[in-house]
Symmetry: C2
Subunit: 352 residues, 2 copies
């Protein structure tokens, strides 16, 4: 029997997941939920052009749909923050359905709210289902890949991981949260009033890496500064004149007793190549041996997040009950055969 | 209680594992076995300079030592080939001890001998223990890393993975099996008579990747050719004049109905930088998206194998019973805290 999925949230990410699933074998979308009034009542064929799902009608009644639809897993793509997604997650778990969310804070929610995290773990266990937060970052580039690379090390002293990307494909919301096009003064005001957030994920990636590797961290310090452009940069959603802000250089330090053990940098700007900056993912482990990994250009953010969420479905369905992170499950990977066969494989292997 | 390890085989790899373990917490070597008459009766302090283990006396009576020593896991580093290690593995499993081996063929033994593989799986299950084959390659660079990278892909069409290394640190045995210093004619004679083997691992890495990703392969074709040197190359164990063989370019193709889906290349030679060849690990996934990863210089072979074998101990001890591969266990990673705490973590998480 095919894996049954409920899509919850049909923004850019949720829509992408639905399109990806439509191309895959042994997996089907059985229901779709979105809060927008324009989508309500239309089919996935009408809204996303997925012919296969002409009979999946988009609904806005979250509770009824979750409760009354038989499904193996709910893909939740509605928000970045733990407290925003928590009520939805609670309901999904209590309806005895596994849940994968791309809410960034859910990649490792313990640093955000230990109490809610413990509660989610308890509810998942009581209902014998599994909960995972994943995505490209947090969830993959600055944590999973760092963790896996370290397997070839006898000793790890320090870690530096950098992700340099290009915000050009993104729309106005992202431009605003990264301060693109602002003056330096406006950027700092935006930091102050919370409208500029930079990257959401360091509080997840750093503890994930530290926990997996057994590195003790007692402080995570974050630094956000404007990337002042020397050149004129223009995208469909942003214009940056020389001297104005091209994006946000967000850096985080995982420290122990004042010493920096893990450094993560994620400068996000439009068109970095105009100033000869190569986009890419860079991981350096200082240890024995020293290892330097790069992915050039960088793992694409949107596609990567979509792929991670969908590709982790078999591991999540097969896992033991509870709140999991990427370090608790078997290797993530792309899937070209049937999702059902993947679940069957993990079950036969006794993999949890 | 600390994890108890029996070291079996104290060549370069086994000795390296013993030294690594001596530096780690929550893990101890409780016995050491080696067939060499020179080492017999001496302590790990005498032979390897590990002061901590002055009371671990090296023995050559494998069966007695395995049977009469209480231990959680045996690290087996004695040979590359399934049929050579199988009798040892069988005995270890029947003594109800987990086993990690760096025998290359054990990274995925099914392509070598399905019957023995099934038997090992059965014996492991009957005795409630776990068996894993790992190492830097096969086990990590050309399989685990490829598998993990693919998680960011919606679709995978073809894969190419290349590992370019420098054989200079190795001794005469490796020089001979790679044909270093021979004439082209002697190289082909060596291939013919089996004295030149190239890389052992493609028959493991290709099926591991294919299986994880659900890519069907019906043939693995291997090609070995001499790397003819244009320059004079000299190492402590080899001399290569221009026109002679600097090493073996070993290539393997994973095919389906004649079409190559997975290509793996591992040219092994001494001092490739003399001809401006950069050593490194290179993975390219052609799909959606296309991803290009490199590790420069390459993940070191010896240290990497030592690290992988030791770092996988917690996952193996916590795993469900049976013959496992790297795609069945939680993320591999380096360990800076206590090995015992790592096992405790996996047990608490219900990870198998």
């Amino acid at each position: 029997m095919s894996i049954k999925v409920i899509m919850c949230g049909l923004g850019a990410m949720g829509s992408g997941m639905a399109r990806m699933i439509a191309e895959k074998q042994g997996i089907d979308i059985v229901a779709a939920i979105d809060a927008s009034t324009e989508k309500k009542g239309k089919s996935l064929k009408d809204v996303l052009g997925i012919n296969k799902y002409s009979e999946v009608i988009i609904r806005d009644d979250f509770e009824n749909t979750i409760m009354n639809t038989e499904a193996d897993v709910v893909l939740l793509a509605i928000d970045s923050f733990l407290e925003k997604v928590y009520p939805y997650i609670e309901f999904i778990l209590k309806s005895k359905k596994n849940c994968i969310t791309i809410a960034e804070e859910m990649a490792y929610p313990y640093t955000i709210n230990q109490e809610i995290s413990d509660k989610m773990n308890d509810i998942a266990k009581e209902n014998d289902v599994t909960l995972l937060g994943t995505g490209v970052n947090p969830g993959f580039v600055l944590d999973t890949l760092v963790v896996v690379l370290s397997a070839a090390c006898r000793k790890i002293e320090k870690i530096k991981a950098v992700r340099i990307n290009d915000l050009s494909p993104f729309g106005t919301t992202v431009m605003k949260t990264q301060g693109v096009g602002l003056s330096e003064k406006e950027f700092y005001e935006g930091l102050e009033d919370g409208s500029i957030v930079g990257h959401i994920g360091f509080k997840q990636s750093i503890p994930l890496v530290a926990k997996a590797l057994g590195i003790t961290i007692d402080d995570i310090e974050e630094l956000r500064e404007p990337i002042i452009s020397k050149t004129y940069r223009k995208t469909p959603y942003a214009e940056v004149k020389p001297g104005m802000v091209a994006g946000c250089r967000h850096i985080a330090y995982g420290k122990y007793k004042g010493e920096v053990l893990i450094t993560m940098e994620h400068p996000q700007q439009v068109l970095p190549e105009l100033e000869n900056i190569k986009t890419g993912d860079y991981i350096e482990i200082l240890g024995d041996p020293k290892l330097s990994l790069s992915i050039l250009p960088e793992t694409p953010g949107g596609i990567g997040t979509i792929a991670l969420a969908v590709n982790m479905i078999p591991q999540v369905i097969s896992a033991s009950a509870g709140l999991k992170t990427m370090i608790d499950l078997p290797l993530p990977h792309g899937i070209e055969n049937s999702f059902e066969d993947q679940v069957h494989y993990y079950n036969c292997q006794g993999v949890k």
